[in-house]
Assembly symmetry: C2
Homo-oligomer: 326 residues x 2
DNA sequence: ATGAAAGCGCTAACAA
DNA sequence: TTGTTAGCGCTTTCAT
């Protein structure tokens, strides 16, 4: 079976295509009688406007693209979930693309967005992204690009980030407050800006307060677990986890040794908030909310789309969520 | 700036639009010289075909839709991740929609898919979905609809599911094997087919082997935690968790009481495989893989799209993954 | 080897 | 209040 078109509706009703079109959009020129007639007809024939044809006339797709490293991730899944809800609320749809942290796939994905003539793009770049030129070309075509979470160094583009320094310092200050003496601090890929910021801020505060700090870098939870296994022997009285990924590794090691939190050792993480709730006692964490980030990114998209030319470079405040692990 | 079109390329090169179009698709009629000329030009001007215009001619969107209850979920995130990868491999894009388990949103989402003229739809229905008519209307328009995970009762539609009976019986049989005497079995929303199947199979095996079984239903992890808190007093020697969501609640309660697995109590779950690895010892679970399910669903989509009219009604085999919790 | 032209479904300016 | 028409970007049949 074929899709119902305006033409079909026009033929059946005996009215012209433009009258049908106008009736369907509730145009004031059209009589109520005609409107209800057409609407009823459209209803029974399951008419749905063809967005492809609409685009050709209006140059507006009502489609957003979003590129993330991976959807299966405690953080990005919540970002995407929020973007999808916001998009739908505003009559937009969401096309998702994963880069797998591969810059070539990233470029292919940008191309796909271009081919689909997305109205806007939300993008989280890979650690290997050296040039954002492909993104900028899209932007030159009046397609707003809102970078989020992992953003380029360059200025002049929209960036919505987690307040890394603030998050790291909130965590560090709690450790100071709790009068810890020796901290094991675990970080992710040292290439990432996010890692650099969190590492720098955290270790600086440790230094200032004369707290001994063992800094290690783990690429995944497994490495985090092994590092914790190893450094637990040095008897730290607190562990700082830069991300949820790290936290899961650390907790494996902690449970393995039957350590009781917070008495045997303190644990604090920077987290999206889900993983910390899986443990008892709940892990004390600094919340970096994917939902909030997505909301802000979406807002930037909409204001940019509405003609505002301000460059958005914003941060999501983080906050301490007290669990029972420190 | 405007997008480069065939017309623009034609004007600049002095060749006709059709020649440009053919050159770009490597048509044998076109001379090599012309081809390389046009390709170069297209490259420097960042020409990307407009899929909306292409659709209008070809009636082919190369866009799939997927509807899930929520993206932030241990299972669906992996399904979507796999669908996205497969789609991209096959030159399709993926539009995601969340229903939030609300049948009205579900219908609105189907409409969106229709409006976007998706080439196919992957759908996981809500517990409240009473009629699949809206889906079938899409199917009548030659848009294959592949139901997955939570599927309608009705026959005659494509369904890819987890082998619920098999998974439940694998779990039950392990409990029998381990000679457990009293089991607390926690299930999700009793309205769901998936719940009914798992519940029926599991309890039946318990009955056959004369194992005492306390069956309870929890709508979320919080309820699961509370139920565990309560029924732990009745001293079960094993807990069966129907899903990851249930498992997280159960483990909160188990950790709260400092119970050691598997000595104090045994725990077994049906799971996608991620959550069980967060604990030490790792939770023994029956794997129901979102990746495998998505792969099979995608395969069904492609064969259906290629003209094969077989109705796919398949199951993903599950398997026991031994952890240290039983 | 290349070009002309029609038409996909829709919107909107202009006409009536 | 309704109709006519042009054109968005592309593919493809039919010329040349």
């Amino acid at each position: 079976m074929n899709n119902t078109t305006l033409k079909k509706l026009s033929e059946i009703s005996g009215l012209s295509i433009s009258t049908v079109s106008r009736a369907l959009k509730n145009h004031p020129d059209i009589s109520e009688k005609t409107k209800s007639l057409i609407n009823e007809l459209a209803d029974t024939l399951d008419y749905e406007p063809n967005v492809n044809a609409v685009y050709l006339r209006t140059k507006h797709t009502r489609l957003f693209g979003v590129i993330v490293p991976s959807i299966s991730n405690f953080f990005y899944d919540s970002v995407i979930a929020t973007l999808e809800v916001e998009s739908r609320k505003n009559n937009y749809s969401l096309m998702i693309l994963q880069s797998g942290d591969d810059p070539n796939i990233e470029i292919a994905n940008i191309k796909l967005c271009h081919q689909n003539r997305v109205s806007g793009l939300f993008a989280c770049i890979t650690p290997e992204t050296k040039s954002i030129e492909p993104f900028q070309k899209l932007a030159e075509l009046d397609v707003p690009v809102i970078f989020f979470d992992k953003v380029p160094d360059s200025s002049g583009c929209h960036k919505i980030c987690v307040a890394d320094e603030q998050a790291a310092s909130l965590a560090a200050n709690l450790i100071v407050e709790k009068q810890k003496k020796k901290v094991l601090a675990l970080f992710e890929n040292s290439k990432l800006l996010i890692t650099k910021k969190r590492h720098e801020t955290f270790t600086e505060i440790m230094r200032t307060h004369g707290i001994e700090c063992i800094s290690e870098f783990a690429l995944n939870h497994y490495e985090a677990e092994k590092l914790t296994d190893a450094f637990l022997n040095e008897k730290p009285d607190a562990i700082f986890c830069m991300t949820d990924e790290i936290l899961t590794g650390v907790m494996k090691s902690v449970q393995k040794r039957h350590l009781q939190l917070p008495d045997d050792i303190g644990v604090i993480a920077i987290s999206n908030g889900f993983i910390p709730t899986l443990y008892y006692p709940q892990i004390t964490y600094i919340e970096t909310s994917g939902e909030k980030l997505a909301e802000l990114a979406f807002q930037s998209m909409m204001t940019t789309l509405s003609g505002n030319t301000t460059i958005h470079d914003e941060m999501i405040d983080s906050r301490l969520v007290a669990g029972g692990s420190m």
